[in-house]
């Protein structure tokens, strides 16, 4: 009807204008007709969708629309192992940095002589926690070592049994680490495990606090140890790490399937929402220990780094809203919690990958949380000026052979220090350099493994390039504007631009690609601390 009336009216207009070749009018009418047809079609489309929802057809899986949706046209199809009950997300944004020195061979058991728990690994802890042991006292695995004076209920426990041999202090007498000289034969403090079926949440929380697994629960926003009073909206576990040279989580779960399932059961008790499991859909089907877990919600993720970051997964499944608090954990932590409930002991044994171009024999070792770096890399490094990193090259901490692995670290990366000058290095680099820029011929060699070095490849500058961070971050945030808001101390804007959804690891890749060499992670942490103090 409307089309006809429009055509009819147009006859008048023609008559008015003398019927000449009035292209403007004709084209306007044509545009109007096209828009009208489109409006009718999309209305019909929406009505069908609504009807479909009422009937209960999952519109995500079956496209009921008249038009194929954009995601159907351009996104990759989910791999066949992604079940109907699981979500599937594929991101095109990101960057996989390929580094030389990935581990090979069997997993070796490597018992380090010293282990440490480091208060500095926990964001927001007061610099001088109360140490409850003395140098020389004997501890079992699971005995408390210290607690935060601001939150005295949460115990931080020893990962191994042995003798406390040192309380190291850093700047301003802050305690940097509590070191335990490990026994050859591990003895464990035994815990009375509550029955998961019947236990009250309060008792469960108290048990977890007392047994030392509580600090494994990270709370977002701010990436701090979870609050003992509030229950989280949801709990998120990313079962894979997409960062360079990361440990393959399929190796971690192997043989620990029951503990992982138990850990997930415990976590479900702690939240009224869901436990979300982020699974790896980048290649082969992940380990059955992940895919067959029950009682949780599964989402598969494909794409490039940072696809394995839990922050990215949260943002794309159930984003953190204003007052929300969610908890996040890694695979290893879930297993340690699960083992506590299965075996009644704090068994902090972990896998650690020792990788990087400066490692002679890159390998994976089985050891305990907080192991001494020197013991793990002994006789395994090339004799050059090296940068030993506890963690990956994006988010790890610089350390030395005297240092220790962090609380949740399962990776040691060793690359070359890049403290050398390079003639016209900005124009004609001698060695291949990792970069997302098209000005390097890197795109021709997609499988090339870079050696990697710590040179900054340029000086720090003001923000100039735009859109660069967004191109590697599959999240709907504007990192550059957020950074500016943090620098300006604008709380409202910081919150609005999504600071609560981010932690350092989410922006690490942005920091890597930054042309202006901005310290994004540091700025973000300052912003998060400002927000936390404000709250």
């Amino acid at each position: 009807m409307a089309i006809f009336s429009l055509l009819f009216l147009s006859q008048f207009s023609f008559a008015q204008s003398g019927g000449g070749s009035n292209y403007l009018l004709i084209s306007l009418i044509a545009i109007g007709v096209v828009l009208l047809v489109f409006a009718v079609l999309s209305l019909a489309d929406h009505l069908i969708q609504i009807e479909g929802k009422k009937v209960g057809i999952n519109s995500k899986r079956t496209n009921l629309g008249i038009f194929p949706s954009f995601s159907d046209l351009f996104s990759k199809k989910a791999p066949s192992y992604v079940g109907d009950d699981a979500g599937y997300f594929s991101f095109s944004k990101g960057h996989d940095l390929k580094l030389a020195g990935s581990p090979k061979g069997e997993i070796k058991t490597l018992h380090s002589s010293r282990y440490a728990v480091r208060p500095i690994d926990f964001n927001g802890m007061s610099p001088i926690p109360k140490v409850v042991v003395e140098v020389g006292s004997e501890v079992k695995a699971g005995d408390p070592l210290f607690y935060d004076k601001k939150r005295p209920e949460i115990m931080y426990v020893s990962p191994v049994s042995g003798e406390v041999v040192g309380v190291t202090r850093g700047a301003k007498r802050a305690i940097t680490e509590v070191v335990v000289l490990a026994d050859k034969e591990m003895t464990y403090k035994s815990f009375d495990v509550p029955n998961l079926e019947t236990v009250e949440r309060v008792d469960l929380v108290n048990f977890m606090i007392g047994s030392g697994v509580w600090p494994m629960l990270n709370q977002r926003p701010f990436d701090i140890v979870a609050s003992t009073e509030e229950s989280p909206r949801d709990i998120f576990i990313s079962t894979f790490d997409s960062s360079p040279l990361a440990l393959d989580s399929n190796l971690i779960i192997d043989g620990n399937e029951a503990a992982f399932q138990k850990g997930c059961d415990v976590l479900s008790k702690l939240t009224e929402g869901f436990v979300y499991l982020g699974l790896d859909a980048r290649g082969e089907k992940p380990h059955s220990g992940f895919t067959s877990v029950t009682g949780i919600k599964k989402n598969y993720f494909a794409g490039k780094h940072p696809v394995g970051n839990v922050g990215v997964q949260i943002h794309n499944t159930a984003p953190i809203k204003a007052a929300d608090k969610v908890w996040t954990l890694g695979v290893q932590e879930v297993i340690i919690i699960g083992r506590l409930f299965l075996e009644g002991k704090y068994d902090a044994s972990t896998l650690v990958t020792i990788a990087g171009s400066q490692v002679t024999n890159p390998c994976i070792v089985k050891t305990y949380q907080g192991a001494n770096i020197g013991d793990l890399v002994a006789n395994n490094l090339s004799h050059e000026k090296n940068r030993i990193i506890a963690g990956n090259v994006y988010t790890g901490k610089e350390t030395s052979s005297e240092g220790f692995l962090g609380y949740t670290d399962n990776q040691i990366t060793v690359i070359k220090e890049g403290d050398h000058y390079e003639a016209f290095g900005w124009l004609l680099p001698i060695k291949p350099r990792p970069s997302i820029s098209g000005t390097f011929p890197n795109f021709l060699f997609p499988d090339f493994e870079f050696e990697g070095e710590t040179n900054t490849h340029g000086e720090k500058r003001a923000f100039v390039v735009t859109g660069q961070y967004e191109s590697v971050l599959p999240m709907d945030v504007y990192p550059q504007h957020l950074m500016k808001a943090i620098m300006a101390g604008d709380f409202e804007r910081m919150e609005g631009l999504g600071i609560n959804e981010l932690t350092e690891e989410d922006l690490a890749l942005c920091e890597f690609v930054c042309t202006s060499k901005m310290p994004l992670q540091q700025i973000l942490r300052e912003g998060l601390e400002m927000m936390r103090e404000q709250a």
Binding site: L97, I389, S437, T456, G458, A462, V465
Partner: protein, 427 residues
């Protein structure tokens, strides 16, 4: 590493002579990437830095430089009615082009970099690379005959008022190169608009007794000592054609008008009676130095897009914006200029050059991806309006880009507000 030791030895004292030290630091970091290593945060950094970024924009312009320089000479001789073939009188055209071009390039850089160095010293920070690109762009967007002192003043204006006053590289609101041009445009309009300025080397002869009757008051070329003594001496030895000692009057009927100027008066038919579309496409027409050759600009633009140095979103949306407006004007068709087919609008003037090199300046453009679409589209849209509908300004891109530079923070503001509203709505 002998050279680097030498460099280290001659490093001036920072306290005693800060200006020299800043200068030294600028040149040293140019010659050697510094040995700084990552500290805190990420342990590895992308190989890209601002120097590399900027120099790639400059590289993308090099074809325009080569062609532009030659075309200055070419247009000069065309106007004189000599060597009509493109490659005829190659050496003369090239030398004339270089004689025009090099002083412009040198003055731009001496003034611009001088001010940059001075401000870097005053503020105690390293020399930043911003002027690498601005300095390379400015010569390309100026008419070949621009008096050098005007050029110097305009560059000083652009760098001091347009950039350093806002805090240096990365902080400016308006495109520095365009500010220099807009300064000339409004302060010395006779040097940058009209028909005569686009062909170099011609001046209006005085009406006095010293010259023959027929040449009085006409436009004619006069050569300096460099042409007549140095270049001619060289060419004479090689047995090539030389610059004529005598004045060379313009050929009858030659106006030097750009296609836009003709189109604004008499429409497309008049343009094609003077210049063929092929000529306009390849760029052997009068105009600003670097803007005339479309294929070479497209090569530069593709390089910028491919290397991800410049935003393809801005280029595409600006193209769409210009096209849409040109089509609307076609449909309207009230004046001869409006009836110029929309695709030929791209052949004339500096649309493509502005699209590839001017609108894409990341500092002054919108910083959000959504904003870039809007920003580019509006530049194309408004620039075409200025070009076609405004009788006072022959070309619209300079003004449209500066206008949208002004509004890009506003565009970003609303994009960010939308993002924030979405996040808070979740709550």
């Amino acid at each position: 590493m002998g050279l680097i030791d030498f460099f280290k030895k001659i490093e001036p004292d920072k306290k005693k002579s800060p200006f020299l030290h800043t200068l030294y630091d600028g040149f040293f970091t140019f010659a050697y990437t510094p040995n700084t290593v990552t500290k805190g945060g990420v342990h590895m950094r992308d190989g890209m830095d601002l120097k590399r970024l900027m120099v790639h924009v400059v590289i993308a312009m090099q074809l325009c430089y080569l062609f532009g320089t030659y075309n200055v000479g070419h247009q000069h001789f065309i106007a004189a009615g000599m060597y009509p073939g493109f490659l005829e009188g190659f050496h003369l055209k090239l030398v004339h082009g270089l004689i025009q071009m090099l002083p412009i390039f040198v003055v731009t850089h001496v003034v611009g970099l001088g001010i940059e160095f001075w401000f870097a010293t005053k503020k105690g920070h390293a020399i930043e690379e911003g002027f690498l690109v601005s300095g390379a762009l400015i010569p390309l967007i100026m008419p070949p005959d621009l008096p050098l002192w005007i050029l110097g003043v305009s560059v000083a204006f652009a760098v001091i008022i347009g950039k350093e006053a806002f805090g240096g590289t990365g902080m400016n609101i308006w495109n520095v190169a365009l500010l220099a041009r807009v300064f000339v445009f409004f302060a010395y309009p006779s040097t940058i608009s009209g028909d005569e300025v686009w062909v170099s080397g011609f001046d209006r002869l005085p009406n006095d007794e010293t010259i023959a009757e027929e040449f009085r008051g006409v436009m004619a070329a006069s050569y300096g000592w460099f042409h007549t003594d140095f270049a001619n001496g060289l060419f004479g030895m090689l047995g090539l054609d030389t610059f004529r000692e005598t004045i060379t009057p313009m050929v009858d009927g030659y106006t030097g008008a750009t296609p836009l100027a003709i189109a604004a008066k008499d429409g497309w038919d008049a343009v094609t009676s003077t210049y063929t579309p092929t000529q306009m496409w390849w760029g052997t027409i009068p105009g600003s130095i670097g803007e005339t050759s479309k294929p070479l600009i497209i090569v530069g633009a593709l390089m910028l897009i491919f290397t991800k140095v410049a935003s393809w979103r801005i280029m595409v949306s600006m193209f769409i914006g210009g096209t849409v407006m040109a089509m609307i004007l076609n449909a309207w068709g009230a004046t001869p200029f409006m009836e110029v087919p929309w695709y030929y609008q791209m052949y004339m003037g500096s649309f493509l050059f502005a699209m590839a090199f001017m609108a894409t300046d990341p500092v002054t453009a919108s910083s959000t991806n959504t904003g870039k679409w809007i920003y580019g589209f509006l530049i194309g849209f408004i620039g075409m309006i200025v070009r076609v509908l405004n009788p006072a300004y022959p070309e619209g891109w300079m003004l449209a880009i500066l206008f949208l530079n002004t509004f890009s923070p506003l565009i970003d503001h609303y994009v960010l507000e939308a993002n924030m509203a979405k996040r808070l709505k979740h709550a």
